[in-house]
């Protein structure tokens, strides 16, 4: 009887329109949806991930450029796939990854940084959050909590919270960002399991929040194609998030975007509208004018990942509460774009401006890249850590008057 009931539920789920799209045998693969006939023979494809250790002498620190007065040093290395970073109260920096499935712990002994692998074998553990001494790890649908993590670095005992959160296990665009909000709730992004499609807006294309135990799910932002980075403004508490526009709509469309979520449940436009681009591939049309415009357009295919408000005071005054965004860089564009850290600042009259902050990863003359910035974190001394996913490295940016 129970079995029959379960089967019935499964059949109902398959019949729902959103899933029917994914199940239809004729559906093109997720990453190719919306690919026009004239681009059928395009050689563009995602860059190969580098999962091996880059020796320190081959990490391109000397290529990196920052504004006058700032300096960059190599802070840690030997962390293949390093992306998001969070810091425990006792100073351990935890680092998430995707393909290599690891979570690293970095201890600073003052003279050097010791890197250990805390967890491994996880499906794309891209989301890390820390509160009350416990590390939360999000890996597609899996959620783990390691209590007293800094006291148990050698022998972590994760509590499996997967069932309590009940997240989708669809892998495509399933790599999450997670963070505790000022309200104490744990926020997760969840992308669409496609390139461009009409999807189940209650499950995908959103940012949702939960109590720390996985209960009381609430949708915070809708119509978000794929956000892999967000933060809460240190003064207003508003949720600011970056979003990846879709592929195969051309070199210059649509733009990736930065948004602020002013009202809970606000719809930001996917699949109909992205950064002012009215998507012709979506049959039922809703107009861009129906949605709040993005706070800023970041450029086509730049792939914003780390999205982090500077919380220190060591940088000059204009960087107080400024938003740093690590643009991991393009693949679906004939000329490379992104591969740099930008800073978004508020100027007179509340207007936002963006400026390059950390450049030199992209070699325009040869159309190649030497690194992919991914995560950003303020340290207690006001310096800024930036992870480089391609080189498995962490840089430290500091300011000297």
């Amino acid at each position: 009887m129970i079995r029959r009931h379960l089967l019935g539920l499964a059949a109902a789920a398959v019949a729902a329109p959103s899933l029917a799209f994914a199940q239809a045998p004729a559906a093109p693969p997720a990453w190719q949806q919306g690919r026009p006939a004239e681009m059928a023979n395009s050689p563009l494809a995602p860059h190969a991930p580098r999962l091996t250790v880059t020796p320190p002498d081959r990490i391109p620190v000397s290529n990196i450029r920052v504004p006058d007065g700032f300096q960059v040093e190599l802070w840690a290395h030997g962390l293949p796939g390093a992306r998001v970073m969070v810091r425990g109260d006792n100073g351990t920096v935890f680092v998430g990854t995707r393909v290599i499935g690891r979570v690293y712990a970095v201890r600073d002994t003052g003279s050097e940084r010791q890197v250990t692998t805390l967890l491994q074998g996880l499906p794309q553990p891209s989301g890390l959050a820390i509160r009350d001494g416990a590390l939360y790890v999000s890996a597609i649908h899996r959620v783990l909590r390691v209590d007293n993590v800094e006291q148990n670095l050698a022998n972590p005992q994760p509590v499996d919270m997967t069932a309590a959160f009940g997240l989708s296990d669809a892998a495509h665009h399933g790599w999450t960002h997670i963070q505790f909000g000022p309200d104490g709730r744990l926020y997760f992004s969840r992308g669409v399991p496609c390139n461009i499609c009409e999807t189940d807006g209650e499950r995908y294309a959103l940012i949702h929040s939960f109590n720390a135990d996985g209960s009381d799910r609430r949708i915070e932002a809708r119509g978000v194609r794929n956000s892999v980075g967000f933060d809460f403004h240190p003064r207003t508490g508003h949720l600011w998030f970056t979003n990846h526009g879709r592929d195969w709509a051309g070199n210059d469309n649509p733009s990736d975007t930065l948004h602020v979520n002013l009202r809970r449940g606000e719809h930001h436009g996917f699949p109909w509208c992205a950064g002012g681009f009215q998507d012709p591939a979506v049959p039922s049309q809703r107009l861009c004018s129906e949605f709040p415009p993005p706070a800023m357009v970041l450029g086509p295919h730049v792939a914003p990942i780390g999205t982090h408000f500077y919380r220190g005071s060591a940088f000059p005054e204009q960087y107080r509460n400024a938003l740093f965004i690590a643009n991991r860089g393009s693949w679906n564009r004939s000329r490379l774009a992104g591969f740099e850290v930008i800073v978004v600042r508020e100027v007179e009259g509340g207007r936002l401006v963006q400026e390059p902050f950390m450049t030199g990863f992209r070699d325009d003359a040869n159309q190649r890249f030497v690194g992919r910035p991914a995560g950003v974190l303020t340290m207690p001394d006001g310096s800024l850590l930036v992870s480089d996913e391609d080189n498995g490295a962490i840089y430290r940016v500091s300011y000297r008057r």
Partner: protein, 195 residues
């Protein structure tokens, strides 16, 4: 005795200066770890469902070996051989196999023209050659798929379709979605009979 030799080997490799990939070091590791038992001498597999590795893309071998080592791609026969390998050792092994000459499998059986034609059409419709290149020799983390065992190709494509195999991303899972076993057999036959 064998254990002792392995330990010495590891020490030697660890003591060596960090050099680029070295096919000669890779060959010694391949002998020590017994890779040839399944993948064949000179990387041409005589064993059903075991892939040939001669001329395979080194970045692809490196990626897969790391997925085996990390327990992310679970193939029982590969757990022991991959255990404890350093990144440098994996890159040496990859360099060794990549440098071996690749050629059509000598015992691949007669070509079925109708089946190959159907496979060619299914391949063209999926733009397989955009990533695997027009001669299907692959590039970077995209594997060479010509000169491969037909049974291994069919097995692997079905694993992607059934979400039993992971890669660096979901592309192959998406591309195989909805294909029948007959479709997959046709693609495998077409690829195995490429020159």
């Amino acid at each position: 005795m064998k254990k002792l030799m392995l330990a010495v080997g590891v020490l030697l490799v660890a003591a060596a200066p960090a050099a680029a990939q070295d096919a000669a070091r890779g060959e010694r590791l391949v002998e020590e770890r017994g890779c040839t038992a399944c993948h064949g001498p000179r990387g041409v597999s005589p064993v059903p469902l075991m892939p040939s590795l001669a001329g395979q893309q080194p970045d692809f071998i490196t990626l897969q070996m790391i997925l085996f080592r990390e327990g992310l791609r679970q193939v029982p026969a590969m757990m022991e051989p991959a255990r404890g390998l350093t990144d440098a050792q994996i890159q040496d092994i990859a360099a060794y196999f990549a440098a071996l000459p690749s050629a059509p499998k000598p015992d691949r059986g007669p070509r079925n023209e109708a089946l190959a034609q159907r496979g060619a059409q299914l391949s063209a419709a999926r733009n397989c050659n955009a990533c695997h290149l027009p001669d299907y020799s692959g590039r970077a983390n995209v594997p060479r798929v010509n000169h491969q065992r037909e049974d291994f190709l069919a097995h692997t494509l079905a694993e992607y379709r059934d979400n039993l195999r992971v890669g660096a991303d979901t592309q192959m899972n998406g591309l195989m979605h909805g294909l029948t076993n007959d479709d997959i057999r046709a693609i495998a036959h077409y690829l195995a009979h490429r020159e």
